[in-house]
């Protein structure tokens, strides 16, 4: 996946927040590419595994995780930094990947996605014969 591919996705990022009147938050994400997979690490504090909805459709990887509010409702706040809401982000992956092999793990509010590349896109070592 090239840098251009990542940018392309953010260009065409849809705006579901306007339709649903909900504010979505962009999770901070680390992306690491290895020879045979992409690894996405996203911070989604407050979300449980059952709150997360990960999908891959035609080259677009969508992360959605609903987070529970940090404080119970109707409490008296002394101090508040940032609101809590669903996390949402999409990435376009232009490298062929294996959708059935995508694994997601959500532990302590940190989401780890492993997206294996399809066989054709994996790095292949070429054996060189000596003379």
């Amino acid at each position: 996946m090239s840098e251009a591919a990542i940018q392309k996705n953010e260009n065409q990022a849809p705006a579901p927040e306007r339709m649903e009147q909900t504010t979505y938050f962009t999770p901070l994400v680390d992306i690491i590419e290895s020879g045979d997979a992409f690894i996405f690490n996203a911070d989604v504090p407050g979300a449980r595994p059952e709150d997360a909805d990960i999908s891959y459709d035609n080259g677009v990887l969508t992360l959605l995780a609903r987070a529970k509010p940090r404080q119970p409702q109707n409490v008296a706040y002394l101090w508040q930094e940032y609101e809590v809401g669903p996390f949402y982000r999409q990435f376009v992956i232009d490298t062929p990947v294996d959708p059935n092999g995508i694994r997601a793990e959500l532990r302590n509010g940190a989401l780890t996605l492993t997206v294996p590349k399809s066989e054709s896109a994996k790095t292949h070592k070429i054996q060189i014969k000596g003379a």
Binding site: Q7, N41, P45, G46, K68, Y77, E81, R107
Partner: protein, 204 residues
Amino acid sequence: MTQTQTQPQTQNRPGAQAGGAGRTDLSKRDPDRGGGGGLARPSDFRRQIDRTLDRLMRQVERDPIRALFSLPQQLDRIANWPAIDIAEDDKAIAVRVDVPGMNPDDLDIEVSGNQLTIRGQRQDEWSDNQRGVRRRERIIGSFARTIPLPAEADAQNIQARYDRGTLTLTVPKVPGKGPRHVKVQAAQGTQGAQGTQGAQGTSR
């Protein structure tokens, strides 16, 4: 970046804060913290600024206006990392901190006098310029945030729990140790005469 500069973006509620007597200034900074903000080491802070500017430059190419307006929020996210909410009821004060992906053993909570300090270190094995690293946005490094506790806080019985990436501290309140109000007695004969007395005072 100081706390006052960041307040408009962070949904702080100074009104609620000022509502009760004995509430201390929650924006008070940890004196041994460098760099500014929650990241304890200037190098961590610097790295995060670099990452944010990287991200900003990508956004500028797509949508400069939106990128520009998002900058304060993005910087705020670093300056106030990790994000803290504080709420209270009659019995306790609840402090909640978003520190995802950590091991509870890496969190250190210290009470000294009326200062509650949350420290921690978030690590991961990938460095920014390592081969294969495509994006680095998450905030890592050591951080410290200090919260002043009110007089009625029972510092001996603070409970801490880490769940779903959120650290919850419950600080019980000791009944009767809250702010006391002292009634002001009016001195005899001064009522209604303050205005003239004040005028006399300045003319002397």
